[in-house]
């Protein structure tokens, strides 16, 4: 058990792990309230303009949103398996699961980019070039503004997550991660799962409003 794993301000590795985990949870709580403000804004406007929100939501590509939900859930599975491999000291499996998680993250972002491109081509980006059925024109822009801000912020978190995972692959490859010092993988996983949870709520709220109408 390498002594270098224990930072000098901690009594032992258990205390160090406890502090790291707690610190990440505190950060995630601030993130929860950060996204919470957007979910609140969404709820207020959806309450005001339900028909416009349903009409705008129908223009989103449902299969792409569903596919991305499955991709992110799968990436959460590979992430938790990476944590398990780290705790068991299986370095090869750890690196492979981290790379699989990153690959799935890239698939998610590619599908998202494809959706943004489609929405750009269909003139669904709010602003001067926005085009929509006349009776929903004004308030559909509010939906699309929220859609781009919420999914954009989520995508930014995914990109951050990919950066974190790249560092974790490097640390694992270098042999810094050991069963005694696996908490970097554990807390990176907490962040990754949190971003997954945000998408779990974004998917039905943005893609599935009033689908039964058509």
């Amino acid at each position: 058990m390498p002594d270098t794993a224990l930072a000098h301000q901690f009594e032992d590795l258990d205390q160090q792990r406890e502090v790291a985990t707690l610190g990440m949870w505190v950060f995630l709580v601030t993130e929860l309230l950060f996204f919470g403000g957007l979910f609140l804004t969404y709820s207020v406007y959806r309450g005001w303009y339900p028909e416009d929100f349903a009409a705008a939501s129908h223009e989103l590509i449902v299969w792409a949103g569903t596919l991305n939900t499955v991709v992110l859930i799968t990436s959460s599975l590979t992430m938790v398996l990476a944590v398990h491999a780290a705790e068991g000291g299986h370095r090869r499996a750890l690196i492979l699961f981290l790379l699989a998680t990153m690959a799935l993250g890239c698939v998610f972002l590619s599908v998202k980019a494809f959706e943004y491109r489609t929405e750009y081509l269909e003139h669904h980006i709010p602003g001067w070039g926005f085009q929509f059925k006349a009776d929903h024109f004004l308030h559909a822009q509010i939906f699309f503004s929220l859609y781009f801000v919420m999914t954009g912020l989520h995508a930014l978190h995914m990109i951050n997550g990919l950066g974190v995972m790249a560092v974790m692959v490097w640390l694992s490859y270098r042999g810094t991660i050991t069963p005694a010092y696996s908490n970097p993988i554990e807390i990176s996983g907490l962040y990754w799962h949190f971003v997954d949870i945000i998408w779990i709520f974004l998917f039905p709220l943005l893609y599935l409003i009033g689908r039964h109408v058509h």
Binding site: V44, I73, I200
Partner: protein, 93 residues
């Protein structure tokens, strides 16, 4: 990995399957006209999925009480944010 390790990861696969089933459900239920229940069903299923992820994937199951308090504290503040604002917007004439 050893068979012992395989047994330890089985719950993760079970949760994974449950999350996929819930995704299918949330997608299917959106195509039925349930009135206001549509939104409640969507949020209910999403909440259940989030709970599964937090409890099993984020290891809340085996986390310390202090971590639980922090997580519940976050939910409490989110509830205050949503409830007080809803209290305003839902009661306007």
């Amino acid at each position: 990995m050893s068979t012992e390790s395989r047994a330890a990861t089985r719950p993760y696969y079970v949760v994974f399957i449950a999350l996929l089933v819930c995704t299918y459900l949330t997608w299917q239920v959106a195509f039925f006209d349930l009135g206001r229940l549509n939104a409640i069903a969507a949020l209910g299923i999403a909440g259940f999925k989030a709970t599964l992820v937090v409890w099993y994937f984020m290891h809340a199951r085996t986390s310390s009480r202090l971590t639980w308090i922090v997580a519940f504290g976050g939910l409490l503040w989110l509830f205050i944010l949503l409830a007080l604002t809803a209290g305003d917007y839902l009661t306007r004439g």
